[in-house]
């Protein structure tokens, strides 16, 4: 991907978007004097008419590069086949997330966050092209039309490339009108599905990921880290490793010992020859079951970090005809993206150039600058597509980026370096989805209606530097809880913030991957206890949540809920709201609770304005599989603070034969703004499958994953 690299170097050195390298300065659409740089920040058009969109968000598979480009292309009236996307440079002044105020990607917010500015960027560029053509052709602007990357007026026609340079010299207009939805050609339900801009290169192995970066005379590094999570280096003997073939250098770094060698394999082999003395004083020493038991005990003692009460739950429970209780233990999970977090780069002329799938560019850049003692503008990030992330690359302390800077520094930047994490490094290295405990109680009246609810949770927070505010609602732990999403007149929620030395991190759908699943399994049990239809039971609790109710009704309708399921098939449902979107899924299972097949998964989603429905569908499909993977099989087992699962042989992830046989996705398309798509699909399907399994006779699930649960040590 030379274009990527050239684009990186040009952007990095000039800071101006003059079009693709080699096309000649001044020949592309550019206007350095623009009042807010709106156009230049986000796109360029070269003399051939190729539109390059600069994506400030990371594409880790969710399709955001294409999604962002499609917003620009719609307003620009671009020829989609001539649109390409590159990662924007790390520059917080130009590319900050409009809500998070730093350059980062997360929370399924990228489309919504970029919607306004990219529409304006595309429309403004189009207006400039129209003006340039009108001036050259000496016709009124009103007579110049645009379509598919071309400018057309009576007696005239030209491609965008022909006027890109002239347009770039014009003043940037303000308040350019945006298209009305009726005029959209590329976006929305009803438009022909846009192929992603990255499909061809990815499928043919041409995409450069962080692990694929190469530099002249590059060396390959791996790091030996403490097997017990949180342990530190006390001392080491690198004599044998240094004598191994292909080894260039063995150096100490804060997280352990780095081996720098001719190839990744030489580095991995030599690492095995290191003799290391670890200082375990700061290490976690417990098993994950023991941590879970400690967390459960904490809920019986001490004061919660957060409590919220509605009504009078104690009195309501006293009046209850029946009380239903449940406990859930959710294990630590490794994100295990297919590309482990890998990064390469070099120091050249006092500038550090690095290439990887950066998810939090502002923090990543700062971490490197701090370690190398460089000003920020001398740390240039080339953000390339990531081979998955699911939250892993968004670590708040930039751990995997900082390690690279330490290796580069320790090697005295003698060579460009690529730092690779092996799968074992990735799975055993901490930075997991937090282990969480839920204890839920519900009081039902004689008719089975919910009149009292109580939920206790215990676990670590994902939030770094949580504000020191009493009873602060930590959304990274609490978002998606039953207490907040289902209507109950008397309800209480408490969370105990419990310590462990295992670093934890955002994981697809943040807290919803436990809160939402616990909620939907529990409400299904309440429906069974009440002898009620699970759709109707939920609808009664969702009168204040019309959009959840609507997707639930649509999923039920499309699944044929009102008719009995076919013989031998069990049907179950779940609904949730997360990342601003609303989603319901109906699962149909055949077989037995131990040996089953997911025959069909029907989804209804309301993600606001669905810009690229096929991408939404893809995220629902993939998210469902990702959620099932965790719910059915996912657990990092800790023993003595050391992860026992290191690779895909024991850290099991979903395979094709475990995927639903048929999936269909239906849309509610009523809103005028897009909302989140990357994460919501990973939650309800798992609950729906567990609900079906319980309806097929599986004993109530208390611990995850369903098929190798974390044992109870309480």
């Amino acid at each position: 991907m030379t274009l990527n690299r050239r684009g990186f170097l040009v952007l990095a050195s000039s800071g101006l978007l003059l079009g693709v390298a080699g096309t000649g300065a001044g020949r592309g659409l550019s206007s350095p004097a623009a009042p807010d740089g709106l156009v230049q920040r986000f796109l360029s058009i070269d003399w051939e008419g190729t539109v390059t969109v600069f994506a400030k968000h990371l594409d880790m598979g969710q399709g955001i590069w294409s999604g962002l480009a499609s917003i620009v292309a719609e307003e620009l009236d671009a020829d989609w086949s001539r649109v390409r996307v590159v990662g924007a440079p790390a520059r917080v002044a130009d590319y900050a997330h409009n809500a998070f105020r730093e350059q980062t990607t997360g929370g399924s917010t990228s489309t919504a966050n970029s919607w306004d500015e990219l529409r304006r960027a595309g429309a403004t560029a189009r207006a400039m092209l129209v003006r340039a053509a009108a001036q050259a052709w000496q016709v009124p602007e009103a007579l110049v039309r645009t379509r598919n990357g071309r400018l057309i007026a009576p007696g005239h026609a030209a491609g965008y490339g022909d006027f890109a340079a002239a347009a770039g010299r014009l003043p940037v207009p303000v308040d350019v009108p945006l298209k009305s939805r009726a005029d959209w050609r590329l976006l929305g339900i009803g438009a022909e599905a846009l192929p992603r801009t990255d499909t061809g290169a990815k499928t043919r192995g041409a995409t450069v990921y962080g692990i694929d970066g190469t530099w002249p005379d590059m060396r390959h590094a791996v790091i030996a880290r403490c097997p017990r999570i949180g342990g530190r280096l006390r001392g080491y003997d690198g004599t044998a490793a240094r004598a191994m073939p292909g080894v260039d250098m063995v150096v100490e770094v804060p997280s352990g010992v780095a081996v720098i060698a001719r190839t990744t394999w030489h580095a991995i082999r030599a690492r095995e020859a290191l003799r290391i003395d670890w200082d375990m004083r700061s290490a976690e020493t417990r098993s994950d079951s023991a941590i879970a038991a400690d967390f459960a005990r904490a809920m019986e003692e001490g004061a919660p970090a957060y409590a919220d009460t509605r009504g009078d739950p104690d009195t309501a429970f006293a009046r209850a005809h029946r009380v239903v209780e449940a406990r859930f233990r959710f294990p630590y999970l490794a994100h295990a993206p297919m590309e482990p977090p890998c990064i390469s780069g070099r120091m050249v002329g006092g500038v550090c150039e690095v290439r990887a799938g950066f998810q939090s560019q502002t923090r990543n850049q700062q971490a490197i600058a701090d370690i190398l003692g460089l000003p920020l503008d001398r740390v240039l990030l080339d953000t390339v597509p990531a081979g998955g992330s699911f939250g892993r690359r968004a670590s708040f302390d930039s751990d995997w980026v900082a390690e690279f800077a330490h290796v580069l520094k320790a090697s005295r930047w003698r060579w460009p370096i690529k730092l690779t994490r092996t799968r074992e490094d990735d799975v055993t290295g901490g930075y997991y989805r937090p282990l969480m405990i839920h204890a839920m109680r519900a009081g039902l009246d004689r008719k089975g209606r919910l009149i009292a609810f109580d939920q206790r949770m215990a676990g670590q927070s994902v939030t770094p530097n949580a504000p020191d505010v009493p009873n602060w609602r930590d959304w990274t732990v609490l978002e998606g809880v039953f207490h907040e999403l289902y209507a109950c007149p008397a309800s209480r929620l408490r969370w105990w913030k419990t310590p462990a030395r295992v670093p934890v991190l955002t994981y697809r759908s943040i807290s919803n991957n436990h809160t939402g699943i616990a909620k939907e399994i529990f409400v299904d049990r309440l429906a069974r206890a009440a002898g009620a239809d699970p759709v109707a039971y939920r609808l009664a609790l969702l009168e204040h949540e019309p959009r959840q109710a609507a997707v639930l009704r649509l999923a039920a309708e499309k699944a044929g809920w009102s008719d009995p399921p076919p013989p031998g098939v069990t049907r179950a449902v779940a609904v949730h709201r997360s990342e601003g979107s609303f989603i319901a899924q109906v699962a149909q299972l055949s077989g037995t609770a131990q040996d089953f097949r997911i025959e069909r998964m029907v989804t209804a989603i309301d993600c606001g304005l669905a810009l690229n429905p096929d991408t939404v569908r893809a995220q629902v499909e993939g998210g469902t599989g990702f959620g099932l993977s965790a719910g059915l099989y996912g657990r990092v087992t800790l023993d003595g603070g050391a992860a026992q699962d290191a690779n895909f042989d024991t850290y099991r992830v979903l395979r094709m034969n475990e995927m639903p046989r048929v999936m269909e996705t239906h849309f509610i398309d009523g809103a005028d703004r897009p909302s989140g798509v990357g994460e919501p699909g990973s939650v309800p399907g798992t609950a729906a499958v567990v609900n079906a399994l319980e309806r097929m006779g599986l004993p109530p699930v208390e611990s995850f994953p369903v098929f190798a649960p974390m044992p109870d040590q309480a």
């Binding site: 990815k202 993939g622 094709m656």
Partner: protein, 182 residues
């Protein structure tokens, strides 16, 4: 693929230029029809030779233990986990995603495009190579499809579309699709 084996005759021409004091040897291998000299230890996994010595980074590292299939290449047309075969055993015509050609490859790649399979895309070269080898080996039914392709992991879980793309490229008979009831 069959024609590839003819076109690119296997030639691993060992102990040429053996270096006495180290275990390095110059292996001559045929990759994508081109001869290459690999200056490395005999037990170096083919994966790392491809990636780090030859710069053929379309073949991906995912696990290193033959569990995920991201590193799948063809040797004489058969799918091989390149992480699990040392260069001195890779005695055949090696084809990587960068060099795979022929009518089956074209059908598979076209189906992958048409179904918009890739999300993060990292595992897809390995998926594609597995699918090409499967289809090239003979008629594919649903059972063979599931059994073979379940050997390749996709963390984005693009399995619905992989399945659809292989069905299309392999022209799997629709009646063998194990349709769900109703």
């Amino acid at each position: 693929m069959q024609n590839m084996a003819v076109m690119t005759r296997a030639c691993v021409d060992r102990p040429r230029a053996r270096q006495q004091d180290r275990r390095l040897m110059a292996f001559r291998v045929l990759i994508n029809g081109q001869p290459h000299a690999l200056d490395c230890e005999p037990d170096m996994p083919l994966l790392w030779a491809l990636r780090d010595l030859l710069g053929l980074t379309g073949t991906k590292y995912g696990c290193g233990i033959g569990q995920c299939g991201a590193c799948t290449v063809h040797i004489d047309g058969a799918a091989v986990r390149s992480c699990s075969i040392p260069v001195n055993e890779a005695t055949g015509a090696i084809t990587t995603i960068e060099g795979v050609t022929g009518p089956v490859a074209e059908r598979v790649l076209a189906a992958w495009d048409a179904h918009q399979v890739a999300q993060c895309g990292y595992c897809q070269p390995g998926q594609v190579m597995a699918a090409i080898a499967l289809i090239t080996a003979g008629p594919v039914d649903e059972e063979a499809l599931e059994a073979t392709m379940s050997g390749n992991l996709c963390r984005c879980a693009t399995y619905m579309r992989i399945r659809a793309a292989v069905r299309e490229a392999a022209q799997v008979p629709a009646q063998s699709w194990a349709r769900p009831p109703a």
